[in-house]
Amino acid sequence: MSVTIDNVKKIAKLSKISLSDDEVKSFLTDLNKIIDWVDQLTDVDTDKVSPTFSSFGLEEDTNQRNDVIKDGGCRDAIISNAPNSEDGFFLVPKVID
């Protein structure tokens, strides 16, 4: 399996990243190297192995918490991470569907 120029452009588009032609070529090389490396996994016979959803093993259940409010109410701290904000709102370039 190898990555094509079109794959790279599509991934960039889905990620809302604009790439120059040179960058596309460079990412094409990098992504193909990654895929080739991961491709080694296809050598392993997994016909009798169930999918691994976590490294804790199949029987391990997810950790749960009680339904209690003990977070939030920290608008200033949350908003302080935003590059742009106004009146307690995050401000982003206008997006309309």
Binding site: L14, S54, T62, R65, G73, G88, F89, L91, V95, D97
Partner: protein, 485 residues
Amino acid sequence: MSNLLKGKTGDWEIVIGIEIHAQIISQSKLFSGSSTLFGSEHNTQVSFVDAGMPGMLPVINSVCIEQAVKTGLGLNAKINNFSIFDRKNYFYPDLPQGYQISQFEQPIVGNGEIMIDLDGNTIKKVRIERLHLEQDAGKSLHDQHPSYSYVDLNRSGIALMEIVSMPDMSSAEEAQAYIKKVRNIMKYLQTCDGNMDEGSLRADINVSVRKPGNELGIRCEIKNVNSIKFIGQAIEYEAKRQIDIIEDGKVIKQQTRLFDPKKGQTRAMRSKEEAHDYRYFPDPDLLPLVFTDEFVESIRKTLPELPDLKKQRFVDEYGLSPYDAGLLVSEKDTADYFEIAATGSNSKLVCNWIAGELFSFLNKENKRIDESPVTPVNLGKLINLIDNGTITGRIAKDIFEMMFKSGDDPMTIVDSNNMRQVSDEGEIEKIVDLIITSNPDQVKALEIKPNLMGWFVGQVMKETQGKANPKAVNEILIKKLIIKD
């Protein structure tokens, strides 16, 4: 019953499938401890998890799991003892993580089915494909600033159940009945408040058309239609649009459309085919959800009586018609109101008064039944006063109006306004005599027009302000005017 639509080339069948997004009733969010309260100041119910900050990890809310299982059981569905969470990747400013945690291949609830009620008596089965848990996104406000959108993340991370139906509905009415039924079941279960105005319940409608018996046609998805009425309008418009296109020899484009309530039309959303590449993969931050059968059974034991069973019980226990029983159970609050009012009073009369006077007053004042100034206990008392002859049915309507205004006990109103029924024959006779002597022309006319009798009854009622016992009035009038002894 036929749901076929007529076109230029013959009959068409509409095929409808519905995805409902139902907000789970819980104090805190699906994966964080922030509050879910509606209408709070923007961005005050946001934790670092909800804001998608690096390194923050989701921890699942046990109540949300129970609510989803409960809803699954209410939809007669298979509960999956093993399910996993996946990341649905897409880019949008109100989705700070860059992905929504959802369930893709292995949802918490599998196949189910519900019965929907159509025009009172007909019942149709609609199959449920699945129910899965997922996070809600935040909210973008586009009209606050000329060049920027505002983002409020209060809703980000609130637990939703996505309930997907099979394409089993074939008319706007069936689709509406389906949504009403699912909403009603969730309200009985108290797993979702069903409030479409506040967005606690949202529906995406998939519509396609085909010639009866043919393969399924190409479908369009109508997004976020936010009222039962609009859902009907959107389906009717969309089906007609698709039939026109096919009959003109063109092909339907599979697309996502929006309903415009002002125009009553659907229109294509800006094309974003690429966005449908969600690149789902299992979320490595969350372990699978594993249930024992005992856990599922322990939830099953907490289920309340659901609408279908309640309806049957109302028929059996109170002797109501299936139509009346269906009407009462269609809202849990109405069914509860009825049961309190009917305790120790005539249940058929209680039902009639709820469906008649009470609904009409509530509609006029735009109140819900749980806000009714006439308590169910007081309605029961009023009906007992009619039933035991203390007041007439006619005066009961006046009393009801006063009860609706003041919230008073009916007996207090009867006593302080001297509204007891007059059954004393001597007293009624005196009034009848007076009316006969002062209306000789009408007495004469009665000989050729027997239905003038009603006019005499009306006069006596007017004279007694509706308090005379109608049976006694009739008997005395017949004795004096027909038999003439």
